[in-house]
């Protein structure tokens, strides 16, 4: 009797689950936007919530390349960092308004991606990760040495934006809740943009190249160009994330460019589920919440990160969201 009721309930819930997931797939950008608007109501600290948004956006940008195109880059810190530095330099050295600084941050990500992409795309597969890592290390040294512009080892300080002026409105950027929603607004715009790109013919081409390069080529697609353009698009998202980080922290630490930051994007994607729309954000949230929690008890947080990395690769390669999606399909 008990068994009977169990079997009659099980398909029902999985049916509902599947319905929800296909709804989530169709309305992915709206759903994510709604969540980001409600998120500060449940998050413990607003500053942490903003960090989750920024790193989620960064991981999202990385996921375009890794998850959707299937290229593993270990140089994304250069795109993120250049975005942050361009935004910071625009404010501290040139006194530009915040919106111009953000636009320059996006441009920084695009330029860094174009430079690294043009070289790295020439080699593929296993070389790609090595070349992107080496080139990002090169940019790290360049920014490190340009002390007059970047502050070198101490980072770029004084990226202060106190009020956000928009169409006659003055928003108090020091207020944590306003601060959060300003950042969230940009992240939501980015989410809609990404959703649109993925749904476009170009989005289909990206996934086509990942699935079979030979078939894509036979269909008349310029595979090298698709890879380059995708790298640059990824750079725009990462550059925006970097620029938002500069505004959020009011400082650009040199660690932003370090290759550990590239590893962070890989980790967040892997944890959340690569090649899924919500995965990078879920990964960023789990990672940063865990970091905050574990740091209360030990300074050796990196040990947990390394172990989690290994565990994910060995036992959990689809990540949290990817596993949920897969379970619902079977």
């Amino acid at each position: 009797m008990l068994l009977g009721s169990a079997t009659s309930v099980a398909p029902d819930t999985s049916e509902r689950m599947r319905g929800f997931l296909s709804f989530a797939q169709r309305r992915r950008a709206w759903l994510a936007a709604l969540f980001l608007i409600l998120f500060p109501l449940v998050a413990p600290f607003k500053a942490l919530a903003a960090m989750i948004l920024i790193y989620g956006l960064y991981a999202l940008g990385f996921n375009i390349l890794f998850g959707y195109l299937g290229l593993l880059s270990f140089g994304h810190s250069a795109l993120f960092g250049t975005g942050a530095y361009f935004c910071g330099i625009a404010i501290t050295h040139f006194g530009l308004p915040w919106w111009a600084a953000l636009a320059l941050g996006v441009l920084g990500g695009v330029l860094a991606a174009a430079a690294i992409g043009a070289l790295a795309i020439r080699t593929l597969g296993i070389y790609f990760a090595m070349v992107t890592l080496a080139l990002s290390q090169c940019l790290y040294y360049l920014f490190y040495e340009a002390t007059d512009w970047t502050g070198g080892e101490n980072g770029l300080t004084g990226v202060n934006v106190k009020t956000i002026n928009l169409f006659g409105f003055h928003l108090d950027f020091v207020n944590p809740i306003v601060h959060y929603y300003v950042i969230a607004a940009f992240v939501i715009v980015a989410l809609f943009a990404l959703s649109r790109i993925l749904a476009s013919p170009f989005g289909a081409v990206i996934e086509g190249v990942r699935e079979s390069e030979a078939r894509a080529r036979a269909s008349g697609i310029d595979v090298a160009r698709v890879r380059f353009v995708t790298f640059v698009v990824s750079g725009a998202f990462c550059g925006l994330a970097g620029a938002l980080l500069a505004l959020h922290l009011s400082i650009v630490p040199i660690e932003t460019m370090h290759y550990d930051t590239s590893g962070l994007a890989v980790m967040m994607c892997l944890l959340g589920g690569m090649g899924t729309f919500f995965g990078p954000f879920i990964g960023a949230a789990i990672f940063l919440l865990l970091e905050n929690l574990v740091s209360l008890y030990t300074v050796h947080w990196q040990l947990i990160v390394g172990a989690a990395f290994i565990a994910c690769v060995l036992f959990f390669p689809r990540g949290v969201w990817g596993t949920i999606l897969q379970r619902s399909r079977t």
Binding site: I126, M130, V131, G306, F309
Partner: protein, 294 residues
Amino acid sequence: MADLTLQLLGLQLFTGIALGALYVLLAIGLSLIFGMLTVVNFAHGAFYMLGAYVGLWLLMHGVNFWTALILVPLAIGALGLLVERTLIRPLYGRGLDYPLLLTFGLSYMIVELVRVFFGNTGYPVDTPDVLQGAVDIGVGYFPLYRLFVIAATVVVLVGLWLFLERTSFGLIVRAGARDPEIVRILGVNIARVWLIVFGIGTGLAGLAGLLAAPLQGVIPEMGGPILAESFVVTVVGGMGSLLGAVVAGLLVGVVVSMTSLFAPEMSRVAIFALMAIVLLLRPQGFFGRAGLMS
């Protein structure tokens, strides 16, 4: 004056070769592992750092330098065996990215474990007594220890060459790099070969770390930059080519020391410029990817 400049250049050339020797040891390990297992070992820098720390620990406990020179590669090699057997082996056949990601995570753990046991700050390491001082090498006085690093690398290279070219196990290794499928069909236990090759590669990284320790001291983060630099060497030389690793390693070492003579602030960027040029002109590197030692 002209004489002095020439002398300076000569000395700097030797400094570059000594630095290049370290790159060669690291890049050969990376290349050997990649050539056989098609695994890019992102933990290679961590094994290098661990070699330096294990060496430091041995020296602190009264072991002499020469014994450490034998023990360190064995210890790091043994750790490599353990890593391959337990962590990397389950990932064969699951795509090239997975072992790479796994070794990246492993490098985090190794670095943090070293911080747990030795702290965040670095230590200087004394040059062994016999190797202190400088000798006249024709163009001027050159530190004896750096000469020793060059000599030790030559000995290791010759040993490796004899091992690969003159032993039956080396024959299997070379054949396995060309076509693992055929080698397996011929009844060779290729899994065991892969295991040992991984151990040799990590052992060489450990040895390079120990040799580098008296030159620059040890800190937990020392493996990061050198990992990126050995990637440059393998890309320039051609992945999977041991000859490429030797030539490119020495070249990169000389480029670093020469730029630090003329434009010190560019010394760390120069090799990446070199890599960019090679990628533009010859994306597969100097020696492409043919079989081992060819």
